[in-house]
Subunit: 210 residues, 2 copies
DNA sequence: GTCTATATGCCGATAGAC
DNA sequence: GTCTATCGGCATATAGAC
């Protein structure tokens, strides 16, 4: 039994590499066309493997989709985890906005796939939302509430502040097409990125300082 | 030729009624599962017509989808059209937030379908975005800029203000599942609706007043 | 592990009677 | 306008050789 070691070494390095290649190929397709709008054939083609070979690494289409979701959840939650009480309130929130806008710029497809999942009622993420995310949010809400109690922030509802932060930053990824249609720019443009950061920061920070 | 009259009377009243029934049945399904995730069979079943009969009223699945999108675009743009220079800046923006939150509460599926279309790169709406929406936004941006020039608002970028308004209000519809998982509530709860309105209003209005 | 061939099922759309 | 029957295509998944 060579498969009894730790999870990380369960599969050979080559196999894991191939899995990652397939996952990378799947992300842009699933995020744009959804689970049902994407055929395994196209994923396989994009990953440069045969369809049967793909099904050797992932037992089913849904298994591939789930693996992808779990993968990106990491990217997704990272900025929130970085949120710390150690910092000054304003500095922390400014930093959070920057981090989230950076994710919107560098991982728009991850943001979109997450959004897609939410639209569908998060059938595969319900549990994660109710446990891991809920707990994380509770922790961070407490930090925000602490800042409010300390007089560093105006008395707003921490939850709604988080919703506002998420909404305003993710919008530039999820609605990127609309933003581009109207402004003619997107976050890849350094000037537009800075302008977006300044405006979002300005509105929200002014909105929550005493 | 009884079909040569105005568009509104092209079809009999009964036929138009049936079309609307089918469209109503299609909205929740398309908005949740997308174009490819929804079968005509299910739409027909939900509308209580046969699949062939459905295809008599809409020549193809895509035609039905497009008809639906055009339908909801109306609902979608209505709040922005109501935005008027006649009003005081703060009053107008507060009213706009209320209108948009009302749409998020009463037409969450329309909001979701629109969002879904955006995620996919708006293949069917590109033209509308680039013409009708672009023009509408240009008009309303000018109004906002007018308020800024008159010293009624802080000097923020009108476009980013609009993006922020859209993002924060639509979030409660599009990410309704996440909001529910974390807060345990949704906009149908009158108390939560008011709380949401107060918080969004507070953050944004304070963020843009001089 | 990777291939060819194929089983199997679903779905969009059409034909044609009534 | 509405029905029954069915065609044709596509996509997931499996069987089995190598």
């Amino acid at each position: 039994m060579s498969e009894t070691k730790a999870s990380a070494s369960r599969r050979s390095r080559a196999a894991n590499q191939k899995r990652r290649t397939i996952l990378s190929a799947a992300l842009p397709l699933f995020s744009q066309f959804g689970l049902h709008g994407t055929s395994l054939e196209r994923v396989a083609e994009s990953a440069d493997v045969s369809k049967t070979n793909l099904l050797y690494y992932f037992p089913s289409k849904e298994a591939l989709y789930i693996a992808l979701l779990e993968d990106l959840l990491e990217v997704w939650l990272a900025p929130l985890k970085a949120f710390s009480a150690q910092q000054d309130a304003i500095t922390a929130i400014e930093h959070y906005i920057l981090l989230k806008l950076t994710v919107s710029r560098d991982h728009p497809q991850a943001s979109k796939l997450f959004c897609l999942e939410m639209l569908q009622g998060a059938p595969l993420l319900t549990h994660t939302l109710n446990t891991a995310l809920k707990q994380l949010v509770d922790e961070k809400s407490a930090i925000i509430q602490g800042w409010i109690d300390a007089g560093q922030l105006a008395p707003i509802d921490p939850l709604h502040l988080l919703f506002t932060l998420w909404a305003t930053t993710q919008h530039y990824a999820d609605f990127g097409v609309q933003v581009a249609a109207i402004s003619g720019k997107n976050l890849d443009d350094p000037v537009f990125f800075q302008q977006t950061f300044d405006n979002v920061k300005r509105i929200i920070i002014r909105g929550i300082t005493c």
